[in-house]
Symmetry: C3
Subunit: 353 residues, 3 copies
């Protein structure tokens, strides 16, 4: 957030006991220890709390200088300092880190440098930062924060307490629910890519739908979500999109699905709830993914997936010289395997061959 | 478009007969039926027209509630409502939908919040929206619309009736033809990625060319098109780029080629006319694609393609457990196949197999 | 750069001898020849210098109309015009082209349309163009150029002589060294994609780190670099990023590494020095790449690479009909190869194998 005066700041320090109480965990260690922040296992100092969630970092536990570590019971014995035992150390860390996050409160009102259409409705408690542009019939609800340089076109709604960090564009007919958070450079509500071939040239297909983003979604920097061709493009509640994700027109993404950076989802695909889509994966148009589908990074989904589970495509990384030999074989795989299968034949055993 | 007062609106309704006449199709059904819009087969009501182009949706025809359906003759018998027969239902739909698209006309003039260089030339009939910036020696031609937040650098031309929807950046030496449409976040005319290795560090190679975009091109949100190193980067007429496409310096794209979202085209590649490049595909630099080449989604083109046709790379999606077993084999494919071929063996002629 | 009055321009012409002297090369040819610019071998005229670096273009040497050609000694005999012999023609070309690049000097001062927080510090010699927004506690150092439409949040530093071309966003806690160059649409310092699963919904993990970009880095259009979760995301000196690259939180990129367009690097990956990452490649999180690793275009790196060298994944492009037959076989590769291997029997024990 920008240009906003901090109205309140978090306390600079908590006791370790206060932290344990705040997140409801049992502390084994010195409750009076003063804590001033969070850190990694490797770099934490004596007034910081660290966490162990990814087993990759377990080797750093023995030498940690942290005041205390959030970890699973199974790792507690190996911890040389105070412990806060939890089933889900990463979620617990998120809660602890929030205690130390600077709170920035945006002051209500519209910056004088912004251009707001007469027919727009801005709640008195909303913040509209510098150099924004808000179009006709758009509504900014209570407590919403429109950071600097945002452009909101016509017929949009920014729901209560939603935050457009900076330089977000809502083109038209975009409706955001409550507590939606959108990062800079994101473009929602642009024309879907609808073109019809006619006599050797392209005919633009009018894009008449909108975009609906339900409560608690988060949308990354430079991500694009096109508005629907006829009906709306929809993100259900608590969908989380990383940076540079592309969502085509009329896509529907189920609640609680998370999509990593650079994923491309083509028009009219329907993604289930609680799906996890790995970075730079692709999903073709007009297919359907069941709930709880996981797609590996950089995989391409070309058909509907009716069962929950984990899916992948591609080939493993290799030194290029090795890769090239295998890749050449792939080009003839069908023929080569037919030969192998057919094999029989005495003359194929010709040693001169 | 934003902040522009609708100067004219389409009629809110047409009779079915009027629609048929407007697009030149034969109607089988009640010509007097009042039509207020378009919709999908599944959701159309009695005052809406639907269409059937993608066979995936044929199952929805029998129960459609539409007033009429645009469809191919071969599907007409199965249609329970009025029909508008056409060879190309999607193109016909585009024309019908255009009848119901709200027309927004931008008012001529330059918004007071914009910053325009003295040496820029803006046609009296052009619209420059709020918070734009137009640089020296740039020209905005008749009827062009520069939406809010656009930045046009030096030595650019925006041709007649071209539309920069909002927050488009033309860095320098970018020339747009007529009726070009560019979506928010697109950046044209940035420096190409030219770096030369010299004594262990990188030396920036000056980028001295520009970008030429011919008539009737459309460029998606957050797409980037670099200017040429020496000569220009060129899009011929009627090229259609989806969102988040990356076009390197000195690329040339032939007329009527369409490129889906997230495609990356490296420097100095030359793409033919009427090509179709699938989503998230990659094309390496300094190669040439013939006319009418189609590239499947997420394929990588590493060599020139001299013949029209469809090309693909990659492997199919599978449940990860299966994929892993196959992928491991790929790593040793050359060796394994050599072994199989070498194999010999009488047993292979076993007739019971 | 925009809206800035050229304070100085390069001379419009040099003699060929002057060019040779300026870059320290031996000229074979007419030193008095007037040179007005650079061009490609194919299109150069008699007052232009061309270069031959990529062997693909060697066939254009015989017919070049250039005044002189920068080339390697081994190509000199085949050159019909004057020569400037060099070991690294592309680097030499970069230096020659720089002689003819228009120099645009930004005038010091802050454009009246920009919004600058009281608590920001802008050096007197820095340029802040139109419609920028600079937040509290941010520092713009001597000679820095902030092009139009840039948004710099709180607690950022733009080092001496760094250039933000236009519409760049530094969200918060972003520190740029000297001579850093960032292209339009880039977003640095956005929240990393940190979400923790808790009781079926997502919990946002506070992102408390920043971004550090060392001297002489270049960052392409619409590239995104998230700030760290706890510690900082770091680019060491002379890192070069093309357009639409995505850098996750806590990534560290070694000095002199170059990354082509559309690459995605997931959180906490560590890339060595002098690496070359091909276009649209992917690198998963929490892994490490040694110095001087080269990754082929569109490859996916899923494990640490401890040795310098070239790596690749994927399969070669083929006509789709052929590709499909091979791809189908890939789905059953493990089974098929097992069958092939199993096949014979006695012979498999052949000790000569």
């Amino acid at each position: 957030m920008f240009h906003v005066k901090p109205h309140a700041v978090n306390p600079r320090h908590w006791s370790l006991g206060q932290v344990a109480d705040a997140i409801g965990l049992h502390l084994r260690g010195d409750a009076a220890r003063v804590i001033r922040g969070v850190a990694t296992l490797a770099n934490a100092g004596p007034d910081q709390i660290a966490f162990l969630a990814n087993p990759r970092y377990r080797r750093e536990l023995a030498n940690t200088g942290a005041a205390a570590v959030l970890l699973h019971n199974k790792d507690a014995a190996a911890c040389p300092v105070a412990t806060l035992i939890c089933d889900n150390p990463y979620a617990a860390y998120a809660r602890v880190a929030a205690l130390f996050e600077p709170i920035v409160t945006a002051s209500p009102g519209i910056d004088a440098s912004s251009v707001v259409a007469d027919a727009a409705q801005i709640a008195a408690s909303a913040h509209v930062g510098p150099l924004c542009c808000i179009g006709a019939r758009s509504i900014i609800e209570d407590g919403a924060v429109i950071g600097p340089g945002c452009i909101i076109g016509t017929d949009c709604v920014v729901g209560r307490n939603s935050v457009l960090v900076a330089r977000v564009t809502l083109v038209q007919h975009v409706t955001l629910g409550q507590r939606v958070r959108i990062h800079p450079g994101a473009v929602l509500g642009g024309d879907g890519f609808g073109i019809a071939s006619a006599d050797g040239h392209w005919l633009k297909v009018p894009q008449l739908g909108g975009v609906l983003v339900a409560d608690d979604c988060e949308i990354g920097a430079n991500t694009t979500i096109d508005r629907g061709a006829i009906e709306d493009t929809v993100l259900e509640v608590d969908v989380r999109l990383d940076n540079q994700v592309q969502i085509g027109h009329n896509v529907r993404i189920g609640a609680h699905t998370a999509i990593a950076g650079c994923v491309a989802i083509a028009g009219s695909a329907r993604i289930g709830q609680h799906c996890l889509i790995g970075g730079a994966a692709g999903i073709v148009g007009h297919i359907e993914l069941a709930d709880r589908v996981t797609i590996a990074a950089m995989s391409l989904v070309t058909h509907s997936l009716h069962e929950a589970g984990e899916y992948a495509s591609g080939t493993p990384l290799q030194p290029s010289a090795q890769w090239r030999r295998n890749a050449v074989r792939f080009k003839h795989l069908d023929t080569l395997l037919r030969e192998c299968q057919r094999k029989p034949a005495d003359h194929e055993t010709d040693p001169n061959k």
